[in-house]
Amino acid sequence: MRLRDTEKVQLVKQKAIELIVKDGLEGFSMNKLAKACQISVATLYIYYKDRDDLIVKITIEELESMTKGIMKDFNPEMSFEQGLHKQWENRYAFAKEKPQMNLFFDQLRSSSYQQTLLSDAISEFKMMMGKFMTNAIERGEIEKMPLDVYWSIAFSPLYNLIRLDQEGKSLDGSPFKVTDAVLWKTFDLVVKALKK
């Protein structure tokens, strides 16, 4: 009798993400994953129907974990600055805790799995994010604008800082780390840009 081992499942997930980030989706196979985990290919097929099933299941689980992290102690009724501050805090903490996840989602975004990223798993999350912006507009805190425009201004600077931090290099090539001072100074500028 084969026993399911939750630690083994965790290992499979972690190695799958590592391999996809490192070699891309094309270079990813069940054989490589089994070798990386030092388990038999058969064990992988116990947990997952096939390669596709594995990628989809891991993606949805990771999306759920990410949205849970981002939503922690946040609610869409918060004042604009307070709510956005919480968002930055949570998103930054998630990127620090799981530095590979943004790279993993980037791989999927440019593949046939793009649709998986828009799954129902995150529909509540998207609804809450939209509601937060609408509330801020209705209270007259920010200009009326489309969600994508809002998102680009509100979060792109954050994700760019995170990327520079992970690469460890400033634009001029000198070493770079995001400090609290840098992070919250950028946040203040974003708030200034968005607020009426």
Partner: protein, 76 residues
């Protein structure tokens, strides 16, 4: 289903290509009432056939497949 027991998942290395996974293979497996469900991973080099069955053994599946001209052995 006992979540700790996976004896009902039977795995095989096969030579089933997408072109071979045709009507006759589908009806062969679909019409077998002892088979709850089955899938072939066409993206894998071993074309892994995954069968869920609470009654059939590896040997019985191998016999079924090979007698219809497919290569099939247990995936370990």
């Amino acid at each position: 289903m006992d979540p700790k027991n996976f004896d009902h998942i039977l795995l095989f290395k096969t030579n089933i290509t997408l072109e071979m996974a045709n009507q006759s293979l589908c009806s062969l497996l679909n019409n077998n009432t002892a088979i709850n469900s089955w899938t072939v991973d066409h993206e894998d080099i071993d074309r892994v056939l995954r069968i869920v069955s609470y009654t059939l053994s590896h040997a019985e599946i191998i016999q079924l497949l090979t007698s219809h001209g497919y290569e099939c052995c247990e995936l370990t």
